[in-house]
Each structure stands twice: as structure tokens, then as C-alpha cells.
């Protein structure tokens, strides 16, 4: 009966190694041959071998080293002699177990992330690719989170990996002169993963949220590139959002907008960490999009402490954001702040100036337009815009909130 617990231990050790070290082991394997798919195959074979061999030999002292050595050995075997492979496998594995696995395993996860978010890779494939290679999340889970058919997501990932191999992309952290653009793409991919999870966090049947994974990835980049301020900015931004997660719904599951949230429900640990990150990032003296967005969140977080929302600070930050990284979202945010500051005509003008094609199916634009119109005293316009927003909103709680707001517009 001694075999059973040992088997359990070995299985648990293999599973733990798989979760904790997947990205690190894969990055080391892939960097050498510039072939992610082949590295994934070799690693999963090594993990299977671990399940077979570790119950016999005990868990090796350096499981990651064992996995790297075994995976590399499998690759060599594949190339060398496919016929003898099966027969010789257990001996080979044991042999490598004692001889070659004691060195520390390197870490090329950062290089792996840069190749996944390379400008030569389809932007829609970047975030899924980072999630799969660095965290080992399977294609079906990623597909659910990104609301894509599993087969389509698998195909997108396979195509991107083939492209990395065939087109000869570099597995490395880029040179300093290329860094600003390249790092931006890595951070954008991480933020895309966060955004996919965020929208569905409170929906009961929602796909598994990727917000935790995104925060983990940003932490990894921030730790490995301590001299760069933007990874800290992104991590701070996501922590601010995550800190307010519990306050976004009331006990009955109704949507609570930011300005009416109970600050007592905010996660103080996450807020303190975010504030600290933002301060450290600012010392680099290089402002960027994510620091700016995090600073906007920081202003909102100050409201319950100071008792009022610092609209002038928000205005200045949105101006900076538009100059740093112009986007529809930044323009909408700025217009609402302008309107709250009393510059209603200017706000309406800026909203209407946005490209209609881009905003006509974008609920935040309609909600913003409604708010600005209502501040301008145009109640029926405000109600009409809310109706469009409602028709475009699938989330039941948010829908109900917008319906109530429209009702109060009409009665007020």
C-alpha cells in the first residue's frame, strides 16, 4: 500500500510543477529552437513522463530542471532515432535524472512575452498567445474568455505559433531604442486579457475571468523590468479596478456606479499597493498611457477621503491621456469631465466630433452623450441616448441600472 501515497505525491508534484513552472520551462525550451509548438509538445510529454517515473524514483530535487532535461532529451530523440525511443525511454529518463538536472532553470518568460506580442503577430492573437504560453491556459478556456469559438481560437493560436517559427521572430527583450513601442504591445496584450475578464466578472454564467491572470502577468513584467515605469502603471491600474470589484454590485446584485459605491467595500491592500506603484513609477520621470490611466483611477479613489471628486485633476489627466495615447475611451472620458466642469457645449461638440462608425454601437458613448445632454438641460435627447445604450447592453444588472436612470430622467 506504500505505492499509492507516493503516486499521489508524485502526481501532485508534477501538477504543481506544471502550474508553477509551465511558462518558465516553456520559455527556456522555446527560446532555444524558436519553436513554441514543438516546445509545448516536448513539455507535455515530459509532464506525462514525470507522472510515470516520479512514483518510481521519487520526486527529483529540481523538478523544473528534470522537466527541461527530459523535454530536450525527447526532442533530440525525436530527431535522432524514432524507433528505439519507446524501448529506451525509461532508462534514458533515469539517466538524465541523475546527471543533468541540477542546474537552475533559466527564465525567458519576458522574451517569450515579447515574441508573442511582436509587431509581426496579429494583434488579436497576442493576448491569447501570452496567456497560453506563459500561464499554460488551454485554448478552450481562452476561447470562452474571449467569446470566440474554441476551434477558431485554436486555429488562431496555431497560426501565430507557426508564424513565429517560420518567419524567424526573435525571442528576446528588445534593445532600449525599440523598447517603447514593443513594451507597449506586451502591456496592451495583458490589459486586453484583463478587459476580457472584467466585463464578465459579475455575470453568474460568465466565462472564467482572466483578471487574476492578467494581474499576475503584469506583476511578472514589472518585477523583471524594474527600471520601466509603464508596467508598474498597468499593474496599478488593474489593482485599482480590482480593488473596487466587490463594490460594483449591491447585495441584490444591482449595478452600483463608481460615484455611489461604498468605499468601505474597496480592497485597501490593493489600493495601497497601487498608490505605491504609481509613486515609484513616477520617479522614472517618463509618463505614459498606463500611468495616466492609473492616476485617473487614483483621483476617483480619493473621493471618499476628501469628500469631493477633483474634476480639475481629472481634466488635466484626460488631456494628458489624449496627448499620450489618443483613443475613443479617453475622448469620451474627457468630454464627461468637461461637462461636469460646466463646459457643456464644448463637451457635446467633442462627443459629436468622434467618428460615428466607431461609436454608434459603443454603449459608453451613448451613456456619456446622455449625461452631457442632461447637464445641458436636453432631457429628451438624454433619454433617447440612454435608450440606445440600453439596447446595446447585454449585462442584465447594468441594463436595469440604465433603465432606472432613464426613468428618473423622465420623472425629474
Amino acid at each position: 500500500m506504500t505505492g499509492q501515497p507516493q503516486l499521489q505525491d508524485a502526481r501532485r508534484a508534477a501538477e504543481q510543477a506544471a502550474r508553477a513552472s509551465y511558462g518558465r520551462v516553456l520559455s527556456v525550451l522555446a527560446a532555444r529552437e524558436h519553436d513554441i509548438s514543438a516546445a509545448e509538445d516536448a513539455l507535455s510529454e515530459a509532464l506525462l513522463a514525470a507522472l510515470r517515473v516520479w512514483p518510481e524514483t521519487g520526486v527529483p530535487s529540481n523538478p523544473e530542471g528534470w522537466l527541461v532535461t527530459t523535454a530536450r532529451n525527447r526532442r533530440k530523440n525525436d530527431a535522432r532515432a524514432q524507433i528505439v525511443r519507446r524501448a529506451a525511454e525509461p532508462d534514458l529518463i533515469r539517466q538524465f535524472d541523475i546527471s543533468n538536472d541540477d542546474g537552475p532553470v533559466g527564465d525567458d518568460r519576458l522574451g517569450l512575452m515579447f515574441v508573442c506580442a511582436h509587431p509581426a503577430i496579429d494583434p488579436a492573437a497576442r493576448a491569447p498567445l501570452v496567456l497560453q504560453t506563459v500561464l499554460g491556459i488551454d485554448a478552450a478556456t481562452i476561447a470562452r474568455a474571449f467569446l470566440v469559438e474554441p476551434a477558431a481560437m485554436s486555429q488562431r493560436l496555431v497560426r501565430a505559433k507557426a508564424r513565429i517559427r517560420d518567419a524567424g521572430l526573435r525571442f528576446a527583450v528588445p534593445a532600449p531604442d525599440e523598447m517603447p513601442g514593443r513594451l507597449g504591445a506586451v502591456l496592451d496584450a495583458i490589459y486586453a486579457a484583463f478587459g476580457q475578464g472584467w466585463d464578465s466578472l459579475d455575470t453568474p454564467d460568465a466565462p472564467e475571468a482572466l483578471t487574476g491572470e492578467a494581474i499576475w502577468l503584469a506583476r511578472l513584467v514589472a518585477e523583471q523590468m524594474p527600471e520601466e515605469p509603464e508596467p508598474k502603471g498597468l499593474l496599478a491600474l488593474m489593482l485599482y479596478c480590482s480593488a473596487r470589484h466587490r463594490a460594483r454590485r449591491d447585495p441584490d446584485g444591482r449595478f452600483v456606479p463608481l460615484d455611489r459605491q461604498d468605499a468601505g467595500l474597496w480592497d485597501r491592500t490593493q489600493i495601497f499597493e497601487a498608490e505605491g506603484l504609481l509613486t515609484t513609477a513616477a520617479r522614472a520621470g517618463r509618463f505614459g498611457r498606463y500611468q495616466c490611466e492609473a492616476a485617473i483611477q487614483s483621483v476617483h479613489i480619493q473621493r471618499p477621503i476628501t469628500g469631493h471628486l477633483n474634476l480639475d485633476a481629472l481634466r488635466a489627466l484626460y488631456d494628458l491621456l489624449v496627448s499620450q495615447s489618443d483613443s475613443i475611451g479617453a475622448r469620451i472620458g474627457r468630454a464627461v469631465v468637461l461637462a461636469e466642469l460646466g463646459q457643456v457645449d464644448q463637451a457635446l461638440h467633442e462627443l459629436v466630433a468622434l467618428p460615428a462608425e466607431r461609436v454608434k454601437r459603443h454603449p459608453p458613448w451613448w451613456v456619456a452623450h446622455s449625461r452631457v445632454a442632461s447637464l445641458a438641460g436636453q432631457t429628451s435627447v438624454a433619454a433617447a441616448s440612454l435608450s440606445v445604450a440600453i439596447s446595446l447592453t447585454e449585462d442584465t444588472a447594468v441594463r436595469t441600472f440604465l433603465l432606472e436612470r432613464r426613468q428618473s430622467l423622465k420623472s425629474g
Binding site: 509581426a120 518567419a167 524567424g168 521572430l169 526573435r170 528588445p174
Partner: protein, 122 residues
């Protein structure tokens, strides 16, 4: 790893080749670019090509040979030359592509060269 830099040019670029006022600048730019690649020792092979006016396109349809004057497609950019270079990876190839004079006026397509075909029977 070998990459082909497919150097596309616009009609204006081709015209500059023979315009006495601009030919000096035009050819000087290419000479500098090719010289830098030669100095780095990365050129496997390469040539400039005569312009699309000198192109002839052939197709076989239903067993019949069809010959047309001009390039295979009438596009704003046309193949003006190519270089096969041997560098570490795509990123290095893109750095060289960015130095080509036609990167500013038209485009450079970068493609990995297929490894040699295995001999028959292997």
C-alpha cells in the same frame, strides 16, 4: 537564417533612375545601402531589376502560352530589386529592410527563404 528583402518601388522611384536631376541621389542611396550590407557580410545574393516597363508576364492556360507586356499585376508598387541576406532572425532582417531607400517611398517585404529541398528519395 536567410531572408529575401523584396524591394518594391513606386512609379516615381523608377522615374528618378533616369532623371538627370535626381538620378545621383537615387543611385547614391542604393549604393550606400548595398555597401553597408556588403560591409556587414550578410549578402547571399541580390540584384536590382529593370523597371516594370521591361517586364513580360507569361501564363499557360488550356495548354496555350499567353504572353503579356507588363508586370503580373498593375499595382502602385512594383518589384524593383531583391537581396537575400543571412542574419539571425526576422528582427535583424527588418532592421536592414528599414535602411532600404524604398522603405520610405514604397515598401520592403521580408520573407524567410525555404531551406534546401531534400534530395529525391530521402
Amino acid at each position: 537564417m536567410q531572408f529575401m528583402l523584396i524591394l518594391n518601388e513606386t512609379a516615381d522611384d523608377f522615374a528618378r533612375r533616369n532623371d538627370p536631376a535626381q538620378a545621383g541621389d537615387y543611385w547614391g542611396g542604393w549604393t550606400a545601402f548595398i555597401g553597408a550590407m556588403a560591409q556587414a557580410g550578410i549578402i547571399v545574393k541580390g540584384d536590382g531589376l529593370q523597371g516594370p516597363h521591361a517586364a513580360t508576364t507569361l501564363r499557360i492556360r488550356d495548354g496555350r502560352r499567353m504572353v503579356e507586356d507588363g508586370p503580373f499585376a498593375d499595382t502602385k508598387e512594383q518589384l524593383g530589386g531583391y537581396f537575400v541576406i543571412d542574419v539571425g532572425d526576422l528582427d535583424a532582417a527588418l532592421d536592414w529592410a528599414a535602411k532600404a531607400p524604398s522603405a520610405v517611398t514604397a515598401s520592403v517585404e521580408v520573407r524567410p527563404v525555404l531551406p534546401p529541398m531534400p534530395a529525391p528519395g530521402q
